[in-house]
Symmetry: C2
Subunit: 538 residues, 2 copies
């Protein structure tokens, strides 16, 4: 790789880019006791990368446009954009299965260059996979070639600017390639925050958040990402497309909500105008324990329907609570367990609450309202330490997962959302489906996003990896879980559709819905170069 | 009309259905002083209604499906669905211009019959105008025939049921033809409310609210109508289409936001699943006066950005405040004016604030937060009487308008929304455009819907009607206002597009946006029978 190229341009194929967490011995011992003997990884073979199928003419046009340093053709660079972070993606990074590798990586420097890259791809019928942080867990950035002769990863990392700030309207325009932490750093210079903190925060980008309808851990306080989107700018085969002139409108259907969630199939998002807020200066995170999943989720429902949710409101079920305590080794666990039992909690469910504000006054009244509900529910206060522990580990999931994978564990997450009256059944059915498929997995679940009419459910599944058929093992489990979800809830609350959920979209939005999405795509991308195979399938 | 037919089926062609308010003499005198001599209406000729162009075969199929009592063919019944309530519609009801009259009125009794009416219309290539309360002010229910041989008004008045209530999820499913008051009555039986109170509340329907992205006067508290929509059921030429399985989703674009606002062009909404809340038992409405429009709207902005808007928050500009006081005749006005001047207010702008709750505790903390902001802004409290006066007159606008029209006044409203940083310019530009076009009109404005990033502006224009060219007079003024809006704000915040705003939609959503809407329509309504000429034009 050329020395001139910014280090950000490097994307690692190797499992963890060197920053995987190490699994504590005690945690591994506990896991083995729960899920059985594990077969750790053997030496990982470097995958064979086929030669780039990109024609010389196209390549030369890319080079003329963005410069040769920003057209990457080495196997290493192409492998670095060969997928996201789903369990199957991570298995591929460990030598199981064949990655779909783009024929080139093109790195435009601004929205105008993105548009011209698209124009070149239209002329030469080359597929385009928009690539941000590469954190998709649903196959959303896999370099599917479809019927194209070649496919490029259009890496947006150089679109890293804060374009404008409107302090009066509280709107900031950010380019699509800005990652979570950088967005917060740029906004903090203006005393502002976005407040969008999904688990992928450290790597994921503004464009990716918008393209996938991301929801951050503080969504109760700051809203889902689509709630923040005031306007979007996209590069499409038909030229540039801009939306968003007002805070609300009755000028027909809200097409922003069609662009948001389009997962690169209707255009490449290059800029997003976002509602921002004053940067918080104080926070308060604390932990509670509620007794049982159903009564715990009833408490969260009450908070949501009273309009007093904490900015972060996160309820774990019994299993997740147990594992969470088990993996935090040491004396705390035992003491905590005894204390909770002594306080009369039979089935402890951990509740994390967090508030942020410029001063504590911003949330003190809201916190008091929550406390009133908690008191009448018999919640046991654990304290700030538990809240802070959660806060500091909030982005560590992906690293822990890498460590688990290295030790022969099959670990994946999946998520959904449903109306409150169906939430309990959804929780039970998905657990049952995963258990029936996998034998005796650990299935953990939490509510992380609550609304007046319902909530999300986020499942983490851990089981011993089937050394002979690891891919089939997970594919069958995922299918069983997805079928359990269909009819009760949505196939995704915040992970998006990508490739993995495409077979289930029709059951949710109907054949008419699928046809409308196809028609919209055909109107803007008649030759189908944009993110082939995603959202509406092949 | 057959006696068996429910009286609700009657729709009046005559201007006011007999319930127009009478304009007080003092108000008329004041008006004449401000806008000059008025030419009151002469005798209104009953319009000539062309014979129905509906073929006998189609008619017989309708009759076989819904029964002969629910296929209306008289001139009177057809005229009753020949338009909405725009100024030009009201002129047509006074003999100026030619109404577009449907060839028949068909009244199905349930969603299934609606679907079968659509099927018949597809087979015979008959246009379908969905008709709810008939309160469109943008031509949304005008019976445009387009390229069809005939067009029917599909009146949804018989779809008047509360289908289901999910108390746990706080979701109620209402049929499309339920009017505002009836929706509240049905929900009140379950201790619930929708809280959606636009000015059209008394006549407009659930389906119409959804089809046009309606916003109620208490939108700050209850949300815009689209925020309440949890799911929709539509009858389309492709068959039934249902959406909405979860409170939030990342399963691709949010197609509910495409159905909502589609104005009958993508399907006929037959049922809407709506987020509901506990019915309020107490309310508090009060009035304040702020000094000047810019500082007044800055106060509303501060409330919105602090997240403490009252459920109803409504700021009038200087002119609207003056007229509002003038039209409330009697001693109050003079005393009030002196009082306000004595308290140092040079340019009084009326602010109406309203809160609702099950108990006052539900809003006391929120009210205190508002009071803190008002205090530091120098607002002068007028008291509850002003708030209650507003509350009791909140739906009387249309009746007052009829009375004004009868007296030779040209009176119309138009509305928009923009980001806060553009609001002042938008206010000035629209006023200037209307004034330049109309000479010396009274132009009044208020903010009735505020958001973190911006607000709506609602203009009322009053001028002496040009007796020789009343239509041209308003068409020129409307064009001037619309052009002033374009580029600064949205062409409609809550009145929708219909026919009147269709020429300006392209500037707002781009040619790409228009093409996507056309493609979506073509996917679901390939022969274009649904509400011809609306939203995306002819």
């Amino acid at each position: 790789m050329n020395d001139l190229i910014d280090h950000r341009i490097r994307q690692f194929w190797t499992a963890d880019g060197g920053d995987a967490a190490h699994l504590p011995v005690s945690a591994l011992r506990w896991l083995t006791k729960r899920i059985g003997t594990l077969t750790a990884n053997t030496v990982v073979p470097e995958p064979t990368v086929p030669a780039s199928a990109l024609g010389e003419t196209v390549r030369d046009e890319f080079v003329a446009l963005v410069g040769k340093n920003y057209v990457l053709l080495t196997a290493e660079d192409r492998l670095g954009r060969a997928g996201g972070l789903s369990y199957l993606d991570l298995l591929r990074r460990r030598g199981v299965g064949t990655p779909e590798v783009p024929d080139a990586v093109v790195l435009p420097e601004d929205p105008d260059q993105v548009q011209r890259v698209i124009d070149i791809c239209v002329r030469h019928d080359v597929g385009v996979v928009p690539f941000g942080g590469g954190t998709s867990v649903v196959g959303g950035v896999n370099a599917v070639r479809g019927d194209k002769s070649a496919v490029i990863a259009l890496d947006l990392v150089r679109l890293d600017k804060l374009v404008s700030v409107d302090q009066v309207s509280r709107i900031a325009v950010l380019q699509a390639g800005v990652r979570g932490p950088e967005a917060e750093r740029l906004l903090a210079e203006h005393g502002l925050t976005l407040g969008h903190v999904p688990q992928s925060f450290e790597r994921a980008t503004i464009g990716g958040f918008a393209a996938t309808r991301s929801a951050g851990q503080a969504s109760a306080g700051y809203g889902r990402f689509e709630d923040m989107v005031s306007g979007v700018r996209l590069a499409t085969p038909r030229g540039e497309w801009r939306l968003g002139v007002a805070p609300a409108s009755a000028a027909g259907p809200d097409l922003r909500q069609l662009a948001v969630g389009s997962e690169g199939t209707l255009g490449v998002i290059t800029e997003v105008a976002l509602r921002v807020r004053p940067a918080p200066k104080v926070h308060r995170y604390e932990g509670y324990v509620l007794d049982g999943w159903d009564s715990g989720s009833a408490v969260v429902r009450e908070l949501a329907q009273h309009g007093v949710l904490a900015d972060v409101t996160r309820l774990s079920d019994v299993d997740e609570t147990e594992v969470s305590l088990a993996l935090n080794t040491g004396w705390k666990t035992t003491v905590l367990k005894r204390y909770v039992r002594a306080r009369g909690i039979a089935e402890p469910c951990q509740l994390i609450l967090g508030w942020e504000g410029v001063t504590t006054k911003d949330f003190s009244a809201r916190r008091r309202a929550v406390m009133a509900v908690l008191k009448s529910s018999g919640a046991v206060r654990i304290g700030k330490a538990l809240g802070e522990t959660w806060l500091h580990g909030r982005f560590s999931g992906p690293r822990q997962r890498d460590a688990l994978l290295d030790n022969g564990v099959c670990v994946e997450t999946l998520e959904t959302a449903a109306h409150w009256s169906k939430l309990s059944q959804l929780h039970d059915d998905v657990r049952a489906a995963l258990t029936a498929s996998l034998g005796a997995p650990i299935v953990m679940c939490h509510v992380s996003h609550a609304y007046e009419t319902g909530a999300s459910l986020y499942f983490t599944v851990i089981t011993a990896r089937d050394a002979t058929d690891p891919v089939g093992q997970w594919e069958r489990a995922k299918k069983a879980a997805s079928e359990a979800i269909t009819g009760l809830g949505t196939i995704s609350h915040h992970h998006a559709v990508g490739i993995d959920h495409a077979p289930y979209l029709g059951a949710e939005i109907g054949e008419i819905g699928l046809d409308i999405l196809r028609a919209a795509k055909n109107a803007v991308d008649p030759t189908g170069i944009l993110n082939p195979g995603k959202l509406i399938g092949g």
